[in-house]
Amino acid sequence: MELKIQNIRKEFDRFPALHDVSLDIRSGELIALLGPSGSGKTTLLRLIAGLDFPTAGSILFGDEDASHKSVQERNVGFVFQHYALFRHMTVAENIGFGLKVRPSGSRPSRADIRRRALELLDLVQLTGLENRYPSQLSGGQRQRVALARALAIEPRVLLLDEPFGALDAQVRRDLRRWLREIHEATGHTTVFVTHDQEEALELADRVVVMSQGLIEQVGSADDVYDRPVSPFVYGFIGDSSSLPVRVENGLVWLDDRSIGLEARDVRDGPATLYFRPHDIELLDGCGGCMAGTVVASRRVAGTRRVELQIGGGHQRVEIELPVEHPATGRSRVAFRPRRFKVFAEPVEPTARAGYRTRPEQVPEPSVLPGEIDLLLANRL
């Protein structure tokens, strides 16, 4: 079942939670809505489910406009962050609930309902727990029951709202893997909401990065990681360091020196340089590069993270150094980012009033070192 979200706008008491959001979801794909708190991702999910109604815009299930259908009619499977299991019912009764409340015309027999519930229990690997009550289950088990319950109604779309948010880290990792397996086994179109980028990048076929009610970028995990199209995406996905710089005649200047980087299609003027702390090469001298003084250093797993004070403006950036590097406090380190992006400062102040980027606009893939970004000057 493919899903089309067209120009959705949602306001709560005149506060805009979603501005003009459009998205095409392919049938059978596992897509993540990723973003920080307040980005509108859960709101969008609930609009798809029918738990809320948009202020403007429409949602299509296949070819059918579902925007005015009630949640009961949409036949979506929804999994809540805190499971929302029915406390007074056993696991089997929970799973069978969606089938039990069907109108008598389409309701399966009690034996059939029970059989299906047990089948689903097997699918979610909780065989034998059918007569337990939710209070007797662990968090991970409850979430799996919640998923089985949602699957029981054979939903057109499966929606998950931060499904693993309330669980321990280890359980979260296990369930992530398991969700992927289930998805591959059942093939439902699945949309899930998360603020955990590791989860989104690991699980999803495509990731929708959202911020403040707008879609920043839609693409595969590689796309959003290697080819972010906006400062927000660059900063949100993976580690990043940034520096305010100036672009003059296609060259990047820091303070009064060119740092040897080209930004050919970036407008002249103030800009921000983004790079990944580990994606740098160290240099001995510095003719045209960046150099800074070490002000802080800490050991992180197999590398060392070092904070450098750069330039006259006392800017600080983080870079990664090999553990054996002799850098100590106050020593100078010179480096150049291997891969980087330069985004020009917007001309007008960033009032998130309207339409941002068109969601499918992904820059031409190119993996040459020293890649220069394509500025999107229409970023307002």
Binding site: S37, T42, D52, S70, D161
Partner: protein, 299 residues
């Protein structure tokens, strides 16, 4: 939920066309029904008290308070409350301290025992004291002969019965709250060198002061309004062992219109007290709901 700002609370569910609320006409119907029910069952009787008190005009109502019987009743009610409430206050705090800050076997049973007066008929409450301390019983006879103290059919009995009926109120407010608050604060104070009393005064008491106030209010309202237990134990001796509720009954049983007015005038005073108690309670719950046990489990 994520996006915490957009948590769909039940309040919002009503304003938007949401999946978890009833259609408007159903809501309007139910609200109307509730308003009518509460109006008929609760508000109208309350209004009737004041209306009947003023049936012969304000002057007649106020004349009640010139009657020596009424004044004696008011005086006794105040006296009884002035004794019962502080006693129960001390008990409530002691019991709450013992139960909430320590663990020992039989704790649950103790709590049940404290809840007992709530499930006992007030008449039975009065009866048990008559059977124990009446002038014909060993203890009662001993007190009367050796000390000249009459308990039953005298003021001490009235106080005793009132204490029985009202002692749970303060304890029940404090116990769940203090249990919830745990012993962390007290342990911190002790580790800093405070004595037990200092800890209690400066740490425990401030933590429970609103619940305490609420318990005292309830205790007081009940102490002044207790009828059944006092009716049994007092002997209804006019001017001596008659509290306000008993005086209301005495007035009510006379058929003179003026006596009826007096009954309702006294009743109006007590009803006003009840309203003040409710008002303070509402205000307390509004401001300090996290510190009140009453807002947790139902009382």
């Amino acid at each position: 939920m994520s996006d915490a700002t957009f948590d769909v609370s039940h309040a919002d569910a009503g304003s938007a066309r949401s999946a978890v609320t009833e259609p408007f006409y159903v809501r309007a119907l139910l609200i109307g029904l509730v308003v009518i029910l509460l109006g008929l069952f609760l508000v109208v009787p309350l209004a009737a008290v004041f209306a009947q008190a003023l049936a012969l005009g304000l002057g007649a109502a106020l004349a009640t308070f010139a009657d020596p019987d009424a004044l004696a009743a008011i005086g006794l009610t105040l006296l009884v409350a002035a004794i019962a409430v502080p006693c129960n206050l001390v008990f409530g705090i002691a019991a709450a301290w013992a139960i909430a800050k320590f663990r020992f076997p039989g704790r649950a049973f103790l709590v049940t025992l404290i809840d007992l007066p709530f499930s006992v008929s007030p008449v039975v409450a009065g009866l048990v004291y008559v059977l124990l301390l009446g002038p014909f019983t060993p203890i009662g006879a001993w007190l009367l002969q050796d000390y000249g103290i009459r308990v039953i059919f005298a003021v001490p009995g009235v106080v005793l019965a009132t204490v029985f009926v009202t002692f749970p109120f303060i304890a029940r407010e404090l116990i769940p709250l203090m249990q919830d608050q745990g012993t962390g604060d007290e342990e911190a104070a002790l580790s800093l060198g405070a004595s037990g009393w200092q800890t209690f005064r400066h740490v425990t008491l401030p933590n429970v002061k609103w619940a305490l106030l609420y318990g005292v209010l309830l205790c007081n309202a009940r102490a002044m309004g207790e009828f059944g237990a006092v009716a049994v134990i007092s002997g209804k001796l006019r001017g001596e062992t008659v509290t306000m509720p008993l005086q209301i009954e005495l007035y009510y049983q006379e058929f003179r219109a003026l006596a009826q007015v007096s009954a309702f005038s006294l009743a109006a005073v007590l009803a006003s007290l009840a309203l003040v108690t409710l008002a303070i309670k509402t205000w307390l719950e509004w401001r300090y709901s996290d510190q009140l046990a009453a807002t947790r489990a139902g009382h």
